[in-house]
Symmetry: C2
Subunit: 228 residues, 2 copies
């Protein structure tokens, strides 16, 4: 395969930029989360539900990636927090350089929670570190409970699986116990939340998870400042 | 971007093999269809419903691509037709060379309808010609009616859009008229079928479409033989 060496080179260039981003986020106490899923699993809906729950003074921002259109940025901008669209123009994933470019002039100081909504794709985004503290994989119950086994990389690399659209469970053949088992076969440490962005079910668990991660990053930044 | 030249080279090598496959399919009167969608939109279910409707003497075969597992091949093998799994081991799409390799020793003469079920990914498979007569894009109504605009390449390159899971329409916010309009904005010639692989609704339209394509390929092959 002639493609492997260059892919490696591109990835390591990406890793270099991602490392720089990660240091910058850590230094400023920014929690950066990279949301990954198939198209239509509910990344934008989860962000809508999340943003609408925040007080206006929260220092939250979103970068949202799509191949074409700025639909998602327009949906998310309604909540009053800074949102920037990254249109990849064909590329099937976000890369660290796109994040660095999108953050230019923003000043990480102004933000302590940054969501990155990746391109809708359960495969390729798994390979690209964006400097995030954690990857979060969303899976809709309409997609089938076998997906962790068929697309293992993203389940292996994610800290959290958000199982979305549980309001549709009565209408689809989907075994929640099986998907939990399949996800943990790939990644025994993965946390799993069941939510519905339509009915709001389970979202308090998501908000708790988020608050816990923010608290951890804040403490790390304080400790870093003390030790410096 | 250092990646562009090599990507071009890989693609043109792929195109060369795809051309060879296409000539072979045409010469033998094989209708080859490349099914593409997000994970869980229903490619395997559509093939299950299709295969169960065929008489045992039909000369149908399936190549099914996945990153990991042979779940789909096992699901499809139950119908008694030849099925081969292509496990890409990480690659996010099928390539023509994988098809050529999987067909080794099969003899295209034994088949006049070949389904290729691509890796679940609405982005990357759109760029790889597999020698098929037509690409077919599946979209589940749970994925949202904006998807043709956000993932235009595959809608642009497909002859047919199969809108699946219409049995879930009462439970999801999805506007069928909007998705039709969005798909035709990208590709005015795209045909659109609404089906449910769960209830069987709309599948007679799919079978008619299939019969028409097979008839066209058969006539082309006859004409080719006459002119040769």
């Amino acid at each position: 395969m002639t493609r492997v060496p260059l892919e490696k080179k591109v990835l390591s260039e990406n890793d270099r930029i991602a490392r720089r981003l990660r240091e910058r986020f850590r230094a400023h106490g920014v929690l950066c989360l990279n949301l990954i899923s198939s198209p239509g699993a509910g990344k934008t809906s989860l962000l809508e539900r999340t943003l609408e729950g925040f007080a206006p003074e929260e220092r939250v921002a979103v970068l949202t990636g799509d191949i074409q259109t700025d639909n998602d940025a327009r949906r998310l901008a309604r909540y009053g927090f800074p949102v920037r669209q990254i249109t990849t123009g064909g590329t099937c994933h976000l890369e660290a350089a796109m994040i660095e470019r999108a953050l230019e002039g923003w000043g990480s100081e102004a933000v302590d929670l940054l969501f990155i909504e990746n391109v809708g794709n359960l495969v390729c985004p798994a390979s690209y570190d964006l400097g995030e503290a954690a990857k979060i994989v969303l899976l809709s119950v309409t997609e089938g409970d076998d997906k962790p086994l068929k697309y293992p990389a993203i389940f292996f690399r994610s800290a959290l699986l958000v199982l979305n659209k549980v309001d549709l469970l009565p209408y689809v053949p989907f075994d929640v116990a099986a998907v939990r088992q399949n996800a943990r076969r790939i990644n025994p440490a993965i946390e799993i939340l069941e939510v519905s962005c339509t009915t709001g079910e389970g979202l308090e668990g998501w908000r708790r998870w988020l608050a816990l991660q923010r608290e951890a990053v804040r403490k790390q930044a304080e400790l870093g400042a003390t030790l410096a």
